[in-house]
């Protein structure tokens, strides 16, 4: 049985006159791993940030677990956002806190978890991403790959129902991309619903249930990795893929 987790209905986002998301309607089911690809400026980040309302949509609906997020108050939104983990290209770890404190912050402040429980949970998550020995380090002493794994652990600490990744490996040195993708792959295997914006076509091929090609504010084409990578239908998909795969 598949169950719809997120239903996007006629999502439109404008910045001034610039229509960045142009009437997108899609459904994401529980357990889906969706990889969003597309050229820079196509609206991928804006799309992802509209899902947890970091960007307020201009019009349309985001139904998450049966609730229309666009109708919620700020306070209710805070409660929804904790169920939607987000990982950023620039990691965005809090530099004034240790790794452990970064992970414990939200569980303790938002969920009122007690310190011992939050610490135990954080340590388990650090183990999961292979960084248990870095608990007391400050972010500035970590490599990019380590920082991104901490950021993933931090998002997981809130036990989200879906994880949003916005180009999680784009800011990394090539030798560190693998360690982050590995963590994401494990996460996908564990059944987490994931929406991943990335240029890592290998990851898309191996892990994605569906690949969405986004261009000029719309999902121009979607399908299984097999369909998109071996038999793209749209000319612009072909064009994009030939450019990316040529590199």
């Amino acid at each position: 049985m598949t169950k719809a987790l997120i239903e996007i209905k006629h999502l439109v986002k404008k910045f001034g006159d610039n229509v960045v998301l142009n009437d997108i309607s899609e459904t994401i089911n529980q357990g889906d791993v969706i990889v969003v690809i597309g050229a820079s400026g196509g609206g991928k980040s804006t799309f992802l940030r509209s899902l947890n309302l970091l960007n307020q949509p201009t019009s349309g609906e985001i139904d998450f677990e049966g609730t229309d997020l666009t109708s919620l108050s700020e306070k209710q939104l805070d409660q929804v956002r904790e169920k939607m983990g987000m990982v950023f290209q620039q990691f965005n770890l809090f530099p004034n806190m240790t790794v452990l404190e970064n992970i414990k912050l939200a569980p303790m402040k938002v969920k009122q978890a007690d310190d011992a429980a939050a610490t135990a949970k954080a340590q388990a998550l650090l183990k999961q991403v292979g960084l248990e020995e870095k608990a007391d380090a400050y972010p500035s002493s970590l490599s990019g790959g380590q920082m991104q794994r901490v950021a993933i652990a931090r998002a997981l600490a809130m036990e989200p129902d879906v994880m949003l990744f916005d180009e999680p490996t784009s800011a990394l040195d090539p030798e560190m991309v693998g360690e982050v993708l590995k963590v994401m792959q494990d996460l996908a295997k564990s059944g987490m619903t994931m929406i991943v914006v990335t240029h890592e076509m290998g990851f898309a091929r191996e892990v994605a249930d569906q690949v969405w090609f986004m261009d000029a504010g719309v999902i121009a084409e979607k399908g299984t990795p097999e369909e998109i990578f071996t038999a793209p239908k749209e000319a612009r998909t072909k064009d994009f893929l030939s450019k990316v795969l040529a590199q």
Partner: protein, 468 residues
């Protein structure tokens, strides 16, 4: 309570009812009023104080002395901070427009103080052709120089001590002073000499009188009765003699070291005012910065208006406004008024520092926190502000250091900070330069030491969190 016959004027009844007569004075004018150190405490003494005591006694109340800058005295009367002003004040027509005066209680001649080496050169006010002569700005003496010494040029300064300094460093050749004051200086400084002014003092404008708030006729009458008694009993010479004795005890030991208590007290107040003001300023600054950065239009506009207004007006005026302006409604002591004014001022500057700090935090930090479910408030409290405060720590330190210097302005309302104490020591010792040097060195040690200390903690903080 019996109703007074003159219903409109209850000034005397009011003073009697509260049991105290508050005298405002600027104690830097021996032998009229000046400070002496009695058992480690500064006490205002002098001829004016004796007169005030007599008036208080005749009315049957206790005398309270409030020290203020000379320029603030009349405002003090108008705002009810003091009941009367005795500060060797001449009742000019200009002053009569805003306050009432008693009859003249003392009329001294006008003399000229010169360097002792020049005592033979100058005979009287006519000897200063083509020379520079000093007098207190806005004083009767300055008027005399302008009108009766047309061939001399006038240097006007506010403080007598500064005029004496100018004389000693030959910026001026003579200083025109009221007789009693002039002899006080000459008696206590053997490098100075006195020559008679021989001015034409026709008018009755050259005496000193007591100032009262406009319309306090019953109080003025009471004071006039006391003045009559003083003159009848010939008490003034006695008062002057007593003042002279105080002056001698003051000048027996004029080494700066002897006055260390004065400076220590000044340092204490300067640091107290600065520290409290910075603390309040930071709290206020955080709120103002958040208001300014926030989405609520009214709060934003309020914060902008406050910040711009405070930064666009001098601290000196703000200090006077809080003390005299707000003082009309509630009687706040000068120290508290000073702290309030400096805090309010500091809040505006700190707000801008904090705003800069908040804006310097990458928006990604906020987005990461919000995506974890932290509310806007929690995000500010736990993620943005701590980082912002850490970034602006050096700027806040600088603000603290500059407040140490700028808070000196509270001395104008009589707060005994370092600058105030410097002037006290100047008048007590008849030495102009040495106290300035001492105060300067103290200020430098304070600010330099603090900036070193702050630098140390800044490095330590960076070290603790590990740098890139």
């Amino acid at each position: 309570m019996a109703t007074p016959v003159h219903a409109a004027d209850d000034s005397l009844a009011k003073v009697q009812q509260k049991g105290t007569l508050v005298m405002g004075t600027s104690p830097d004018y021996a032998p009229y009023e000046f400070l002496v150190n009695q058992h480690g405490k500064n006490v205002v003494v002098g001829m004016d104080v004796e007169i005030a005591k007599k008036i208080a006694k005749d009315i049957g109340v206790k005398l309270v002395i409030k020290q203020m800058d000379f320029d603030s005295l009349l405002v003090g009367l108008q705002t009810g901070k003091v009941d009367m002003v005795l500060s060797a004040m001449t009742p000019t027509d200009e002053r009569r427009q805003s306050v009432d005066f008693s009859k003249i209680y003392y009329k001294g001649g006008q003399d000229i103080v010169v360097n002792k080496a020049d005592a033979k050169v100058y005979k009287n006010h006519q000897s200063f052709v083509d020379k520079k002569v000093g007098a207190q700005t806005g004083s009767l003496q300055a008027d005399l120089v302008k009108k009766q010494m047309p061939e001399s040029s006038l240097l006007g300064l506010t403080k007598v001590t500064d005029l004496i300094l100018a004389l000693k460093s030959h910026k001026v050749e003579g200083v025109v002073m009221e007789e009693a004051v002039a002899s006080a200086y000459v008696q206590n400084d053997n490098q100075l000499a006195l020559i008679p002014g021989k001015f034409d003092l026709g008018s009755d404008e050259n005496g000193t009188a007591i100032g009262f708030a406009k319309g306090s006729t019953s109080l003025v009458n009471a004071a006039n009765r006391s003045i009559d008694a003083i003159q009848k009993q010939k008490l003034l010479p006695q008062y002057l003699k007593q003042a002279g004795r105080y002056m001698q005890t003051n000048t027996t030991n004029t080494s700066m070291f002897h006055y260390w208590r004065f400076f220590a007290k000044g340092i204490g107040y300067t640091l107290l005012i600065t520290a409290i003001s910075v603390l309040i300023g930071v709290v206020l600054g955080v709120f103002l910065a958040l208001m300014r950065l926030g989405k609520v239009k009214v709060l934003h506009a309020l914060a902008v208006a406050y910040i711009e207004f405070v930064r666009g007006t001098p601290l000196m005026i703000q200090v006077m406004f809080v003390y005299f302006g707000i003082g009309i409604f509630i009687d706040i002591p000068a120290l508290i008024a000073g702290i309030i004014a400096v805090s309010l001022n500091s809040g505006a500057y700190v707000a801008e520092i904090i705003r800069g700090g908040i804006e310097s935090i990458p928006v990604g930090q906020t987005e990461a926190a919000r995506s974890l479910g932290l509310s806007q408030r929690l995000t500010m409290q736990t993620v943005v502000l701590p980082q912002a405060l850490r970034n602006i720590w050096p700027a806040l330190g600088n603000e603290f250091i500059s407040l140490i210097k700028e808070s000196s302005i509270v001395s104008i309302i009589g707060v005994t900070d370092l600058i105030y104490q410097l002037k006290v020591v100047q008048t007590a010792t008849y030495k102009g330069v040495q106290p300035i040097i001492v105060a300067m060195v103290i200020y430098f040690v304070l600010t330099f030491g603090l900036s070193k200390l702050l630098g140390h903690y800044e490095r330590k903080m960076k070290h603790d969190e590990g740098t890139n």
